[in-house]
Each structure stands twice: as structure tokens, then as C-alpha cells.
Amino acid sequence: MPSTGSFPSSSSLSRRLFLTTTGALSLGAALTACGGGDSGGSSTSAKPVSQADVDKAMKTPTELTFWTWVPNIQQEIALFEKKYPAIKVKAVNAGQGTPQYTKLRTALKAGSGAPDMVQIEYQAIPTFTITNSLLDLRPYGASALKSTFVDWTWGQVSGSNGEVWAIPQDTGPMGMLYRKDIFDKHGIEVPKTWDEFAAAARKLHKADPDVYLTNLAANQVAAWHGLLWQAGAKPYATSGKSDITISVDDAVSRKLGAFWGGLAKEGVIGVEADFTDSWYAALNKGKYATWLTAAWGPVFLSGSAKATAGKWRAAPLPQWDAAKPSSGNWGGSTTAVIRSTKNPIAAAEFAKFLNSDPASAKMFATEQFFFPATKALLTDADFVGDAPAFYGGQKVNQLFADISSTVNSSFQWPPFLDQAATDWTETVGKSLADHTDTVRALGTWQSRLTTYAKDQGFTVKGS
């Protein structure tokens, strides 16, 4: 809290301090009031903030702190500060993904040092809502943005009682990047189904033992979750605050486990850890003929495997049911507001502006090469018309924009993602790497997660 009037150097300053403080105080009081008063019905959202309050807040000199690992985000922030000159936003890079979450959790526990806004990936949202750390953005007008964003992204940022926990920033609908030259050389058609994919994997490795059709990284739980998502699995479902259903070894999961475990055991796919030196070298040297990746993959690959320019093409993921194409999501982020912020109105306005303002959203696509979350950009002629030479002039963005519309919108994440990820690597991932029984490893994953959830006080249901 600002130290009101302890050292009033001039009367005008102290008056302004007094005003801002009382503003913050009354707002804080309002928040505590609705926090305490909702014992009757917890699903009712707080009263919407009036436009007058918003106008006042956006004209009050305020400094906001924003934790993000987006490079050069200063450009987008400048757009916001130009529109709202009274608000200054300080961007802090506190690490990418997990390291940032660890720091955030520590700051939240300590009760000080947490930012006002934070970049958070879709899959991490429930991990922070379970600890009551995020602000429901409904009272701040976030619901009005629902139709701006691709449906499944809105599903990802929505809570079970309709809360809006964050604003989508970018996405990663999954597709397949493949080496056309390798496919052509060995007479392999682009696989449309997973059965064709398995056949191609065997054929390719037999034709050239140094080449594998793909690499399913044994440390990449995000890819596994994406593939589960595509297959229509519902591995996690939460209802109420403390009930969770864990079914990471149900029929769909086992189908996936048998498929990938089988290919790994046969030795016709790679299973090495991704984003390592060895993995980059493998992509550059043509050890893997495909990369099952997300919509951010094409730009990433063209920067990391320059030696292979022009040889790659993109296609949708192979399908389980060719008649009903579907995909999952891997990656992408949102902007959330931390509940403890002293400036919720300005922070929420920032989160909304940053990702929904047409100029700002477009800048993410053209400057940071993010794959958009807004419907407008996915039909933007400039964006989908891009035809990079790295992919032989293929309209890669158009392809992934089409894939985005096939992403299932009801996939949910567990409220303890880090634990789920570690346990996956040590059970399922390990079985892939060691060429042991992946289906059995799914059972171990299930039981480890169940034990953990029970230890943490959840009521666990499920297979």
C-alpha cells in the first residue's frame, strides 16, 4: 500500500496520493465484500465495473508489472501506452514457462513481489486457479470478447462456473511438417491416417536404417497431451472445487499408448529428447522425415534447420477417423491478471487490449510470428496468404488456420500440471525411451497421479 500522508512533501501531492489510495481502498473493500459475501452462491460473478470506474482508472497514473517471456513485447505495450498515457507497463522476463511459474508461485506464497499481469500457457491456468491466484475477468468486461477469439481458445480460458481466467494470446493447433524430398525418394505418400503413418514408418526405416519417420520425444508431455486431445480423450475433468476425474489410461489413451509404444518398440521411430543439441542436429541432417508439431513449428523450424530450406511441407496430423478430422493444441499462451493486483481495472484492460486490439494482435502475428487466437486474423488475407520459401511456397498459415477450426473445444487440464508432466516423463516417456510396455506405463501414470491427488486432498474419481 502507498504510505499515505506519512511524508506529505507538498499539499497537492498528498492530495493526489490520498485520492489514489482511497480509490484503491474502496476497490479493495468492494472486492473483499464480494469475496466474503458469496458464500450463498459461489457461481455468481462480482458486479460489473461501471464504465465511469474504468474511465477513471485509465486516467489515473498507474504502474503495472507484467511477467512475460515474449521477445520484443515492448512494441505491443507501446500501443497500449499510447492509448492510455497514464498507465505505464513494465515488462519483466522471469523465465519461460515452468521457471516463471515456479517464481510466480513463490511470490504468491510470500505475499509480495507478484506481478499485476502474467503470461500463462493454457495448460497452466487450472494450476493457478486452484490456488485462487487469478482474477475472474468477467466483471471487467471480458465476456464481451468471447466472439473475438476462436471458440476452443475461449473454452481453454473459461472456468467451470463460466469464469474468464485469462485472455488468449496465441495458439498451437497441431499439424505435421514433413520432408518432401525424403518422402519422394522412398515413394511415401503423405499419411492421412495413423495406420498409414505406422506403415510409412516401417517402410521408411527399412529402406534407410539411418532415417526415421518421426521422433516422439520421451520428455515432451505437451506433445502427448496434444495427441490425446486429437484422439478425443478426456484425461482430466474437474467438477466443483475438490472433485477430479483422472483417466489417463482409459480406452483412448491405451489406443494411443499401444500405437506409439508399438512403433517405439519396433525401433522405427525416434524417441530422443527434443529441443536439445542432438535433436537440432538430427533435424538439420535429415534423421527425421517428419516433425509432429504445432502452428508455431513452421517458423521455429525455418530458424533452426536452415540447412533444409525448401525441403519441408506441412500437412494436417494423420487421423484416427479420416471422415472426422480433428486436432489438438500444443502451446500458446494467454494473459491473466493476478488476483492480488492493486489495479485490477487497468490490469484487466491491459490483458484485453494486448490480445484483442486489432493492431496489437496483428503485431504478434507479424513481429513475433505467433499463431493467432483471434478469428479475424485467421481469415486475414495477409496472414493466411503468406507463402514462405522454406516450405516451397506452400500457404502454411492457411493450412494451420484450417486445422485450428478442427480443434476439440472441451479438453481440460489438471490443477497440478507440473506433477502430471513429471509423472508422465518417468512412466510413459520412460517406457517409450526404454522400449518397454507403454500401455502398462499408462497404468503407473494413472496410479501415481491418483495417489498425488488424494494426498493433496482431492476426491478422485475415474478409471
Partner: protein
């Protein structure tokens, strides 16, 4: 007279105070806080409850913790004697005065210690690489099977190699410095008695080195049981071999930052500290017993 005694008495605590304050603030307070934390359990659902010694009971039966401690104990038993023997050998060789370019060699052996262990682990991780690492490429060129440095069976040895590479120089410097303090008269006396270079090394230098050796051994006990950086970094390239509970220290870290089980992590850290105290004490005790037969 009396006043000067009183002043001197007052001066004592005053001189000790800075140390005591820091000791209290930076050592005892966190230790006490960890002990306090270890008596509770905080859950995502249901908040924090006092559980007494439940965490300790759980930890003592936790196979992951026991395996982690067992693994670092094995690491200690194999890696430390090797590293100290090498350090001793280098120190004696340097001290013998028979080496050419002694200063260059001394610096060369010491330089790895100046490399941050994070960088060292990353560098070795590359060297160990099964596809594009130099060892693998060399053996492929010679049509030999590539060594699997990062496989389950080799990993502890690969880690031991990194740690040895990093710390041989450090231990060598301690031993070398101790050798330089041996009075010249002892060598002269030994030479008068007809002792050769080997005899002098065995009967004069080694006994004089005992305190320094004990010191390096103690440091190594602590270092081994707290093994963390190297496995944590190799975890990225060999996630199937190095689990989140590979060493006891790594387990504590994962519990706190992955599983959000801060209280249990405090318990594990406390128990690990206890193991280190016992191991250090055992080392001291055996060393002292040998000195006074």
C-alpha cells in the same frame, strides 16, 4: 586494572557479535524454519494442518528417497577415492619439482574448477551425445559400437567423470598448498637417513598431508550427498534415465517446486542434512582413531 579487565570482558562478545548475528540470521533461522515447516502438511484442497512427525515417518519409508540416498552413497564410495587419489598424485608430482612446465600444468588442472558446474555439465552433455557427440562419431568412424554414456548403466559413471573433472584441480590445490608448508628440514633429515624420493613421499609427505586430506574428504562427503547441478542438467538430455528423484537433493527440489509439497521437501532436506552430519562424523571419527592407535 579492574576496569581494563571488565573492558576486555565486554570486548569479547562484541567481537563475536557480527559472526553470531549472521550465523543466527543466515543459518539457524532458516534451519529452524525448515524444521517448523516439516511438521505441517499443506494441501491444495484443505489448507495447512499440523501433522507432527508424520512427514518423517513417511520419508523414512519412501523408496524414492532411500534410492536417492543410496545412489549418492554409491557415488561417494566410488568417485571420491578416485578423485582424491588423482588430486594427491598431481599434487605430489607438482611438488616433486621434476615436472617441466609445472605452472602450466598446475593451472591446466585447476581451470575446470573455474568453469561453472552448469557450463561443465552442458559441455559434457554434448560430448556424451550418442548421435553427434565426438566420442560417438569417432567410434562410428572406426566401426566400433558407440559408447552409451547417457544410458542407465553408465550414467552414474558419466556423472562421476564430470564431477571428478571439475574438482580434481580444487582438491589438488589444497593438497599442494599443504605440501608447501612441510619444513625443509624434514626432507633433509630424511635424506640424511638415506630415504629416496618414494620413501620421502610415503613416510614424510603423506603423514603431513593427513589434515589436508581429511579436509578434502569432508568437503567431498558434503559435495557427493548434495549432488544436484550435474544430474539436473543432464536430465534434459536423458529424461528417461535421470528421474526427478535421482539424487536425494534433486528429489527435495522436485517435491518443493514440481509437486508443491513444501513441507515434505523440508522433511527430506532435514533428513538429508542428518545423513551428511552422520557421514561426516563417521569420517572424522575413523580418521581420529587411526591417528591415536
Amino acid at each position: 586494572m579492574a576496569s581494563s579487565v571488565r573492558a576486555r570482558r565486554a570486548a569479547g562478545p562484541l567481537f563475536v557479535a557480527p559472526f553470531l548475528v549472521l550465523f543466527l540470521l543466515l543459518f539457524l533461522a532458516p534451519l529452524g524454519y525448515a524444521a517448523y515447516l516439516s511438521l505441517f502438511q499443506q494441501r491444495l484442497i484443505g489448507g495447512t494442518v499440523f501433522v507432527g512427525l508424520d512427514n518423517y515417518v513417511k520419508a523414512l519409508q519412501d523408496p524414492l528417497l532411500l534410492h536417492g540416498v543410496g545412489r549418492v552413497a554409491l557415488f561417494f564410495v566410488i568417485q571420491v577415492p578416485l578423485m582424491l587419489a588423482l588430486a594427491l598424485l598431481f599434487a605430489l608430482a607438482l611438488d616433486s619439482g621434476l615436472l617441466r612446465l609445472a605452472r602450466v600444468i598446475r593451472l591446466g588442472i585447476f581451470v575446470p574448477y573455474a568453469v561453472p558446474s552448469v557450463v561443465a555439465a552442458l559441455m559434457w552433455g554434448y560430448l556424451y551425445g550418442p548421435d553427434f557427440g565426438p566420442f560417438a562419431q569417432l567410434s562410428r568412424m572406426l566401426d566400433l559400437p558407440a559408447p552409451h554414456f547417457l544410458s542407465e548403466g553408465w550414467m552414474l559413471g558419466s556423472l562421476a567423470n564430470i564431477v571428478t573433472w571439475e574438482f580434481v584441480g580444487y582438491n589438488m590445490i589444497i593438497l599442494y598448498a599443504a605440501l608447501r608448508t612441510i619444513p625443509q628440514e624434514l626432507y633433509e633429515a630424511a635424506a640424511m637417513d638415506g630415504a629416496g624420493a618414494w620413501r620421502i613421499a610415503w613416510s614424510v609427505k603423506l603423514p603431513a598431508l593427513r589434515p589436508a586430506l581429511l579436509l578434502t574428504l569432508l568437503f567431498s562427503v558434503i559435495g557427493s550427498f548434495q549432488l544436484f547441478n550435474e544430474p539436473k542438467l543432464l536430465m534434459n538430455i536423458a529424461p528417461d534415465v535421470i528421474s526427478s528423484s535421482y539424487t536425494a537433493n534433486l528429489y527435495g527440489y522436485s517435491l518443493a517446486f514440481t509437486g508443491q509439497q513444501v513441507n515434505y521437501a523440508a522433511t527430506v532436506s532435514f533428513l538429508l542434512g542428518l545423513v551428511i552430519v552422520i557421514a561426516s562424523y563417521a569420517v572424522l571419527l575413523t580418521a581420529n582413531r587411526r591417528r591415536t592407535p
